[in-house]
């Protein structure tokens, strides 16, 4: 997907801003979500690789982090290589992650004692350079810590996802603090896709991009990750059932 605006003055300005921000080197690649509706609103048409991103759950998801974990698993599932997942409380359920596209053979779990240790492990993972991505469940992420992680991700070209997960709902206001991360997402659960019979359809999320460097924020109603880590566009939003047909729905 081509850049939406290719005015030379704007390109020059972007380069100057990038130089001020310390983003050296060639422009990093992006990982498209495979949904035109989503990709065209993201800078460069996808999720920037080799950067730090933040994901949190909305509502009760701020404390359980279940939808955010699926969202992160879906992103990392589409990257080639091993994934390091650092946590403080070990409640990830590997079969559930597999159904979001991330098989157990691709994830190395690290159980660290506290937030500081999790951040240190995440930084080690990012600096190592041969991982596909590093995910970490963290509650507090200061500006300094996020800048440090972002630089580590940039240096080694590994994508980092800080999965923000708080102990109490009230602490989620922390998500408004400034960050050095490339993007900041909030994933909230929505009632699942309606079915003509009793039962649960494919899970739906309200995916909000709260902050994006050189991009605009938006929110979009999407269907949760399928078995390959791809999000879906709800049939009633896309305008026809064909878009959702043929996809095996999980989660």
């Amino acid at each position: 997907m081509s850049a939406p605006r290719s005015d030379p003055a704007l390109v020059a300005l972007r380069q100057r801003i990038a130089a001020i921000e310390g983003d050296h080197g060639p422009p990093s690649a992006v990982l498209p979500f495979g949904l035109a509706e989503l990709d065209r609103r993201l800078p460069k048409g996808g999720l920037a690789l080799g950067c730090l991103h933040e994901v949190a759950g909305g509502g009760n998801g701020a404390t359980d982090g279940a939808a955010a974990a699926c969202f992160a698993a879906g992103i990392t599932a589409r990257l080639p290589g091993q994934v390091l997942w650092c946590v403080t409380q070990a409640d990830l359920f590997a079969p559930g992650l597999e159904q979001a596209g991330l098989p157990p053979g691709r994830v190395i779990h690290v159980e660290a004692g506290d937030d500081t240790a999790v951040l240190a492990c995440m930084e080690e993972g990012l600096r190592h350079g041969s991982l596909a991505a590093v995910v970490a469940d963290v509650a507090r992420l200061s500006m300094t810590a996020s800048r440090r992680l972002h630089l580590a991700a940039k240096t080694a070209g590994t994508t980092g996802i800080a999965l923000r997960r708080w102990r109490r709902q009230a602490d989620a206001s922390d998500f408004g603090q400034p960050t050095a991360a490339m993007t900041r997402w909030r994933v909230s659960v929505l009632p699942s896709s309606p079915l003509p019979v009793p039962g649960l359809g494919r899970a739906r999320w309200l995916v909000e991009l709260l902050r994006a460097r050189a991009g605009e924020s938006f929110d979009l109603e999407l269907e949760a990750c399928d078995g390959t880590g791809h999000l879906g566009l709800p049939a009633d939003v896309a305008g026809g059932p064909a878009a959702a047909a043929g996809r095996h729905a999980f989660g």
Binding site: C121, E124, H128, L131, F250
Partner: protein
């Protein structure tokens, strides 16, 4: 118990009859060690052999072999040196002393370490008692006698038998009695040894442990003319020691699986650092990095005068041919080592599937560097991304036997169920556990008004009370 256990391990002597070991004291033949069976029928070390034979007719008697006992004990101490802590010494005739400073955290603390150690010894047929204390003397006494130091008998002081007998004659039945006495008369009567042992027990006199160093241990050592203390200096000398160690390893074609750095301080204290490696390594840069990560845990005190670096566990490591044509899988062992030395090796793992329908048993932790078998879980039913550590009881209103609840209340919040899927009946492991022969759980995937998807189950099939308590639990949260 050690001589008996050693004999059992080496000869495979069956344990159906009481066993005692016989040795000579002067011209008398006396029992030197007894096993648990023999102790149960009243035999004690020090008893004449003829008396023991008279007491127990079918007694099995083996000759005592003190030299072999000691050699075996040294081998056991080396095994402990490899696995538990860098400073280990033999405490003859039947003890091993371990300096656990800087090593206990690798095993999850002092108590888990002792438990693991005695458990592994028990598995290999060695009965062991272990205790942790601030000094060698106190730990020695606690492991053998237990209880309060002051209430222990004078035998706990590691004194010659004649001195102990003399103390008993004087009426000293407890160490506490000795502490209350003026020291000069005691020294005049029993010699300086008694007071020295008491001071060693209570830590008033240092008692360095002469660490066991097997002859073939790969080790480098550096003594400093001036004591060093600055972290940068320590890092520089670590790099030099590692380079020397790696040269030795390379000459023998070995790679290190474990490294022990021992810093001898000017005040005769020792600081130890132990790092483990997931695969054998002799790359100086990587080993230096692992050791330097641990510098903050070294307290240099008034300065370090000697540093030794040893590789107690080594493995053959041959040069490997690499190919520039076929891209190799990235080597993650360096990262795993760095993380393992930060958070502990047991905290880094992968999940592998287990053939069990019970969700909490459906995965097991395997080593992070284990081969990927490509196996996964069956995809028949959706599974949550977060599983609660243990199912939490919830209040519900539901029609039996197989309807999902109309509402549930979890952690004090009541939710109306808008949609549900289920039941998915999960049977216990009837082939391994008798208690789970007929136990079942009926799992439902429910969604409340707000769209939150939860995984709940009812213990029991809804009809037969023998299959479960029919209480409801919340077990997981879907994304």
């Amino acid at each position: 118990m050690w001589p008996v256990d050693r004999l059992r391990r080496q000869d495979g002597t069956p344990s159906d009859r009481p066993l005692v070991l016989a040795g000579r004291i002067g011209s008398r033949r006396v029992v030197t060690a007894v096993d648990a069976l023999a102790a149960g029928v009243g035999l004690r070390p020090g008893m004449p052999v003829s008396k023991a034979q008279a007491l127990v007719p079918d007694l099995r008697i083996a000759p005592a072999n003190v030299a072999e006992d000691l050699a075996s004990l040294e081998r056991l101490a080396f095994w402990i040196l490899q696995r538990i802590a860098p400073i280990v010494a033999v405490d003859p005739p039947d003890g091993i002393v371990i300096d656990a400073t800087g090593a206990a955290h690798l095993h999850g603390g002092e108590d888990p370490m002792l438990e693991a150690l005695t458990g592994r010894l028990a598995l290999s047929g060695v009965t062991a008692r272990a205790a942790v204390a601030g000094t060698w003397g106190a730990a020695h006494a606690l492991a053998r006698f237990g209880g309060d130091l002051e209430n222990m008998p004078p035998e706990a002081l590691r004194l010659p038998a004649a001195t102990v007998a003399g103390l008993r004659d004087m009426g000293f039945g407890r160490i506490g009695d000795l502490l209350a006495q003026p020291r000069a008369p005691l020294t005049r009567r029993f010699g300086p040894e008694l007071i020295r042992r008491i001071d060693q027990m209570f830590g008033d006199v240092p008692e360095p442990i002469d660490a066991l160093r097997p002859a073939d241990l790969i080790e480098t050592r550096r003594a400093f003319a001036e004591p060093i203390a600055a972290p940068e200096t320590i890092a520089r000398y670590i790099a030099k020691l590692v380079a020397a160690l790696c040269a030795q390893l390379e000459a023998q074609g070995l790679g290190a699986r474990r490294l022990d750095l021992i810093c001898h301080r000017t005040d005769r204290e020792m600081q130890t650092v132990r790092v483990g490696l997931a695969v054998a390594q002799r790359d100086p840069a990587r080993l230096t990095r692992l050791l330097c990560d641990k510098i903050p845990t070294i307290a240099p005190g008034f300065g370090i005068e000697i540093m030794t670096l040893a590789a107690p566990i080594t493995e053959p490591l041959a040069a490997r041919q690499t190919s520039t044509l076929a891209p190799e899988a990235p080597d993650l062992s360096g990262l795993i080592d760095i993380l393992a030395n930060r958070v502990g090796a047991q905290a880094i793992y992968r999940f592998a599937p287990v053939d069990s329908d019970v969700p909490e048993r459906s995965s097991r932790r395997i080593s992070a560097l284990a081969e990927d078998s490509g196996a996964g879980w069956p995809h028949h039913w959706p599974r949550p991304s977060r599983l609660l550590p243990r199912p939490e009881p919830i209040d519900t209103m539901a029609l039996l036997p197989d309807q999902p609840p109309v509402w549930i209340a979890w952690r004090g919040v009541r939710r109306r169920i808008a949609r549900a899927d289920g039941p998915e009946r999960i049977f216990g492991e009837w082939w391994t556990r008798e208690a789970e022969r007929i136990a079942v759980r009926d799992y439902f995937r429910v969604e409340d008004d707000a769209g939150e998807r939860l995984w709940i189950f009812r213990a029991g099939d809804g009809e037969d009370a023998a299959t479960g308590s029919h209480r409801w639990f919340l077990h997981g949260i879907f994304g």
